[in-house]
Amino acid sequence: MKELAVYLSAGAVYVVLGVAIPELLFSWLEGAVFLLLAVWVLPAVLERFR
């Protein structure tokens, strides 16, 4: 459930960013980088600082 929550949060942020800056929605690569940052890199960094 925690994993699903992380993906849903990432999705909500991506949708808001996409609506604000539609240019982002054209790039699969930027979407991929965003998801990797949101569900892998960021949680790993936060875990390290805990």
């Binding site: 994993e3 993906y7 990432a10 999705g11 991506y14 949708v15 996409g18 609506v19 539609p22 929605l25 054209f26 699969w28 979407g31 991929a32 998801l35 990797l36 569900v39 892998w40 949680p43």
Partner: protein, 283 residues
């Protein structure tokens, strides 16, 4: 063209084919027809120089042009090439299935695809939603998310959500990794959480874009919904008959084709009715 279906179709196909398919080539196949060409349809600026096709629809789907990338023959040819180079049946087959899904989905717009190129340049088109790539990507987005295109994508998204098990960690371990050595090799460099994110990216990207474009088109901007067949009518749609300068001489492309089809339908209907009458009289 489709904006989200190509992202989500591979997950639905994956659900039905399980270990008989490899996800990475399936996804590459699903993107392949537009991978190197779409930027030239919409145009791109490089060092102040604007690069764009003179006739975007002709370039994208026609011949002369790169419309052959949307043919079933292209899928077979690249799959054979993959097999010759890597000797992997599953990679070749998976690419072909993904590419077929893209080529068939794109037959639903008003331009369609040359499914059987080079045997014929006929564009197979159901004409369900307007092809408006020539108007630029923002108008195209507005048109697509106002017509039946976004409904079609929605169908795939719902189907994808109903196939949610393919997105789970257990399915990834038991089926995706087991079917393709790519993931085991990638696992040497990346943790499982990153591999899972890579596997799920296209679903995430497709679902988020579908929501974001709908909000953008109808809340931020005011594009009008038009769910009629071939709509939205407010955009100047390109149709299959507008492409391929030499034209196609097959019966369905000839001007007589609607009359021919109607005559055929009446003849078949009359025959079926007379047969039913005869059978009714004999019993």
């Amino acid at each position: 063209m489709s904006w989200v279906a190509h992202d989500v179709e591979p997950y639905v196909i994956q659900k039905h084919l399980g270990k008989r398919i490899a996800f990475v080539p399936l996804l590459i196949g699903s993107y392949a027809p537009d991978m190197a060409t779409k930027w030239f349809v919409y145009g791109a600026g490089i060092f102040g120089v604007e690069l764009k096709a003179d006739n975007p629809a002709q370039f994208h789907r026609g011949w002369p042009g790169v419309g052959f990338t949307h043919s079933l023959t292209f899928g077979v040819a690249v799959a054979l090439l993959i097999y010759v180079i890597w000797r992997s049946k599953i990679w070749a087959l998976s690419f072909m299935v993904g590419q077929f899904a893209h080529a068939l989905t794109d037959t639903l717009d008003t331009v369609g695809t040359m499914l059987f190129f080079p045997f014929t340049t006929h564009l197979f088109s159901a004409g369900a939603w307007a092809y408006a790539g020539q108007t630029g990507r923002y108008t195209d987005a507005g048109a697509y998310f106002s017509g039946l295109g976004f409904v079609w994508d929605g169908v795939w998204l719902v189907w994808g959500v109903l196939s949610w098990r393919v997105l789970t960690r257990a399915y990834f371990r038991e089926t995706i990794v087991a079917a393709d050595p790519f993931w085991r090799k990638a696992g040497l460099y990346l943790p499982e959480v990153a591999l899972l994110a890579i596997y799920r990216i296209s679903f995430f990207y497709g679902a988020c874009r579908w929501v974001a474009w709908l909000i953008w088109a109808h809340v931020i901007r005011s594009f009008a919904f038009d769910l009629s067949w071939g709509g939205p009518k407010w955009v100047n749609a390109i149709r299959s008959k507008d492409l391929n300068a030499t034209g196609c001489s097959c019966p369905s492309c000839c001007s007589a084709s609607p009359k021919l089809a109607l005559s055929l339908a009446i003849a078949v209907g009359a025959r079926v009715r007379s047969r039913a009458r005869r059978e009714g009289a004999s019993t």
